[in-house]
């Protein structure tokens, strides 16, 4: 509903929120960030594995996990936005 006075402003106060984000760019940035984090995690993991330092392997696991989650959620977002863009008239407009 667009005729509610002040309603958009009300929710726009939050620094997060989908309408403020450029969807495609956000999804790709999220996926890129996720891949980057996974690469960092893999590097730390390789070092830990090679040096047999369990603490490093643990840290690598957490970093890679966060990267993988970041990639996964962004990918799901990208998948849905792409689908919605392909079939724009069949979905409700916001």
């Amino acid at each position: 509903m667009r005729d509610v006075p002040g309603a958009d402003k009300l929710v726009d106060r939050l620094p997060f929120g989908a309408s403020m984000l450029k969807e495609r760019k956000t999804a790709l940035t999220g996926m890129g960030g996720g891949v980057l984090l996974m690469a960092v995690g893999a590097s730390i993991f390789a070092l830990g594995w090679w040096r047999k330092v369990i603490a490093l392997v643990d840290v690598a696991f957490v970093v890679t996990l966060i990267g993988w989650m970041c990639f996964l959620v962004s990918f799901a977002f990208w998948f849905v936005t792409t689908l919605a863009r392909k079939f724009p008239n069949r979905f409700p407009k916001h």
Binding site: G6, V11, F16, I54, F61, L65, L72, L83, F91, H94
Partner: protein, 497 residues
Amino acid sequence: MEFFGQVLTLGQMVFLLLALGLALSFEFVNGFHDTANAVATVIYTHSLKPWVAVVWSGLWNLTGVLTSSGMVAFGVISLLPVELVIHVGSAPGFAMVFSLLISAIIWNVGTWYFGLPASSSHTLFGSIMGVGLANAMMTPGHGFGEGVNWAKAKDIGIALVASPVIGFVCTALLLLLCKALIKRKDLYESPEKDQAPPLWIRGLLVLTCTGVSFAHGSNDGQKGMGLIMLILIGIVPATFAVNLSMNEAALRDLSATTQSISFQMDKHSPGSAMAGGPVADDYISAFLKPSGKIEPNTFAAIGTECREISAALEGHKSLTELTPDQRRTLRNDLFLTSEALAKADKQGLITDPAEKKAAKDLKKHMDLFTKFIPLWVKIAVALALGLGTMIGWKRVVVTVGEKIGKSHLTYAQGASAELVTFATIEAADIFGLPVSTTHILSSGIAGAMAANKSGLQMETLRNILMAWVLTLPVCVLLGAGIFAFIMDVVFGALGIK
């Protein structure tokens, strides 16, 4: 290299990472998908500023997860196909976990993208149903629909009909009651810009927001915990198959109790002999299927499992003395026996009061060995759900707050809808009602709008209803399709069986 107390290969670590990431992502998505249930009314009645409301809700979700008992977590596991649960470390077991999580994430993100408040629980159960159906179709000797818990599907059917009616009618009635009893014009008009409601309404809304957030955390958070435990049991059985903190006295007690129960079970199946554990596993697995019925050998199988548990524990001071394979076998025996005793009791197959009590006590005792959740799992899920709640909440909140009714939500409308939602969650917990919180709140807002003669946006309502009805079939198809794809294409190409 040793990881989580067990030597894992690189491949196992990658699997663990992929699966944990999926489970935590599901919780993260669940967080922002369901935030609207708690914060929409608080934001649109100006009771709390949006950022305060979502952070507050996120923190209470987090608290809900951290203080949860873990019982719901294992309830989710009991909905899964039993043969996949006991062989969760196998290729079909992993395919099950991956496919149901991917399917649930896709549908949750999809409905969130269009700002549609759909039920996350229905999404998860639809995916579980899909996996069950696909598994039954792909496994020789299984009939169509054998792996599906039809009773739960019926509950969802009831929820689909009951929740909108309860939400709509109860909220409308509550609003009309308020109008009759509380003669304050400002409660029934759109609020002035940024003007907060009277203190008591504000307090009520913040309280219900807190309650709904806490309940969501302690309920939905546990579903993720259950799936994570299943993953850990499959990949790292040495550490997670059984609760390694059980002491010598507990081991001795369980060994003695299972031995004594085994004789009672044998009395139910006189003359039935059981060749050994695997045969007993098959009998109990067949009984535990949603369509499974008691057979002459079922009690003998439970007796055999009890004797195996007793033998496995005898003479040991700690579960760490068992090898990883023995721990996994012990877990399966405990899981099957505990579930079989519960089902037999529920179906009234155990009639003798003393035996009934002994079976219940034994089940409780066995559950202590298998139904445990490490603190780090709780913290990880709490963070994922809490952070998810704080990010990306806007789409569904805008739909609930702005797109259902034709005018701005009044203080009384917001309070009535949230109060009914909160009361329904409590009632559902106490009486086990199959209702959906998401459906109750959305239809509650619609009921409040109708009672106030504010008008309804029929296009939005149609879209929401369509999403509710489509959730189950779409998730069944997604879950089944992804399961078949992973089994045939991915694992086929990798040569994993």
